[in-house]
């Protein structure tokens, strides 16, 4: 198991190297660039040339790439030109990553908390109106674009329920410890800060949760349907076990395998939804930085954030693989 983990992490290094090269080339291929973004269309050729030189963009791309690698090895990923000009790309990542993590955590929590029980109930009542309604509902969840739902939530739900619709927290006096605003409030005992951060999280988390919810619901429903037909469920019934024991120990424990895979994949894929959601709710996370970074062609920030997103994705999937061994003894004892 340990050897497997190490091998996967070594593979990750290779993946990141190849990815950085591809990204580097691809970002340079995008029309426009940081210079036009910073100076506008009507800048003089002289000022353009000066800025190009200052940013090191006048050198051949291969040279730029190796310079980047050399600096990256020492932890220097360059300075932002567009998102927060002047700040180091690493600082921007470290500042914003907890926000996205917090948002993703609550989104996936909502998706699991509703998707798994609903999927179980729908499977148990297969063909009933409840089942049909849930399946249609999950289809809508997948089909409605995130940005549309985000705007609906922002404009309708926010004003209707009196919830905040932008930012991570109101300008209140809160002590920062970890960068996770909900956690900071708990640590310092500033409960109003936690509550305020949670209020800001609700709507974006719901918007972000819809697709993972729909996918988790459908996979749970299918997995439970499969398990309900298994002989060992009939054996459990023949033992006269109570319904809750059969549900928990015999049905759900077996149905969770494919669901855990899905949860892992969906967690990894959350970032694409986070770009849209964070932009709509002006939620200062990695997703918003990516959106702004693309508008302003902020090469260093884009490069670092996309690489970090890849690492998160690979690590999450590694954790999913490792969790199989915990859930399924057939893998553990092989």
């Amino acid at each position: 198991m340990l050897r497997y983990t190490i091998r996967r992490l070594i593979q990750l290094v290779g993946v990141v190297l190849v990815l950085s090269l591809l990204l580097f080339a691809w970002l340079r291929l995008l029309p426009g660039g940081p210079v036009s973004a910073l100076l506008g269309e009507r800048a003089t050729p002289e000022s353009r040339a000066a800025l190009t030189k200052q940013l090191g963009l006048d050198q051949p791309i291969v040279v730029q790439y190796f310079k980047f690698l050399g600096r990256a090895a020492t932890g220097d990923f360059g300075v932002s030109t567009g998102v927060q000009p002047g700040d180091s790309a690493l600082d921007i990542f470290l500042q914003r990553f907890p926000a996205t993590l917090e948002l993703s955590f609550f989104a996936i929590l909502i998706a699991i908390a509703i998707g798994v029980p609903l999927g179980y109930l729908a499977a148990k009542r297969r063909g009933s109106w409840f089942d049909n309604l849930s399946v249609v509902g999950s289809l809508i969840g997948v089909a409605v674009p995130v940005f549309f739902l985000a705007y609906v939530l922002k404009d309708v739900a926010a004003s209707g329920l009196g919830l905040p619709s932008s930012g991570r927290q109101d300008a209140i006096d809160a002590t920062r410890v970890t960068g996770f605003f909900t956690l900071d409030g708990i640590i310092t005992g500033e409960w109003d800060a936690t509550f305020n951060a949670l209020e800001h999280l609700i709507l974006p988390a719901i918007a972000l949760a819809t697709i993972p919810f729909a996918v988790i619901f459908r996979i749970t429903r299918a997995a439970v349907l499969d398990v309900l037909d298994e002989d060992f469920v009939r054996t459990a019934e023949s033992k006269g076990l109570t319904a809750p024991v059969i549900r928990r120990r015999h049905v759900l424990r077996n149905a969770m395998l494919p669901v855990v895979t899905t949860i892992g994949l969906q967690t990894g894929a959350l970032l694409s939804g986070a770009v849209l959601t964070e932009k709509v709710f002006s939620f200062a996370g990695v997703g918003e930085a990516l959106a702004i970074g693309f508008e302003r062609r902020d090469y260093p920030v884009l490069l670092l954030l996309i690489i970090m997103a890849t690492i998160v994705y690979v690590v999450v999937n590694l954790l999913v693989d490792l969790s199989y061994a915990v859930i399924d003894p057939r893998i553990r004892t092989r």
């Binding site: 033992k239 024991v245 003894p329």
Partner: protein, 332 residues
Amino acid sequence: MALLEVRDLTVVFQRKGEEPFRAVDGVSFDVEPGQTVGLVGESGCGKSVTSLAIMGLLPKRGAKITGTVSYDGTDLLKLSDKEMRDRRGRDLGMVFQDPLSSLNPVVPIGLQVTEVLERHRGMPRKEAMIEAKNLLDKVGIPDPNRRLKEYPHQLSGGMRQRALIAIALACRPKLLIADEPTTALDVTIQAQILSLMKELVQDLGTALVMITHDLGVVAGLCDEVNVLYGGKVVEKAMRHKLFAEPRHPYTHGLLSSIPRLDAAPGEKLTPIKGSVADNIPWSEGCAFAPRCPNALDICVQVTPAEEDQLGRLLRCHNPVVPGTPAAEEVPV
């Protein structure tokens, strides 16, 4: 009074937009305490559905069950889901066909035994573990302490079936139903499992309903035998009587199709012609008539009634004459 009295048990499956299917059609039989009764027939004759109906394990929707199944004087079919749940595993135990798929792959064997003890005998986990060890010991699983912690995939097929038997007998039910318990096992293991079951039901005084297509199993185990065809009992007799003198052409055909050690070299087996039809119309004559070597004109016109012939129940217009050897070649 018998321990189990099944009267006119009928199970009709009804799916939307499909013809109703009578899987079990008026089956009646008794099981005395400690007695072993066989339900015999080929696939689709209704024997498994009968057992699931007795256990209350048929799906609530789509299956219409009529008749009575009285256990110790209580009609099990009239019990609520909760009342039936209290009885399953405590008064009635069941062993299934495929021991690998019948055990939960992600739960240790120990818990699969103790959960039934906790449920019905109210044992705390620790005490239940000790009892589980004794049970595994009793069904002949070596090194039970280690096996309790293992998972089904770590056990051999024979051991898995022993574990399932231990689970079914954990609460000392008065009735055990075994649905083809040896079909998925190697021949040598089959013999071991059968002798284990025989020994256990004798020791514990458990009544056993043995469901099988294998007349060898019946010969070694059962006191009384019900031969089922198309959801009806076509012949019922004590075992020695049935084997010595099969009267229904179907029973006779089943016995003739068993390979014998004393047969002359090169002698052919005598199979029963054709296979079971999907929906067997007992309404128009005898369901076995199309496959029957003894069929007369009346067989396809009038449904034969059940007749009591000196302790043997028979449903046939033209039974086999005692002493007939193997059935003759059936013209196709």
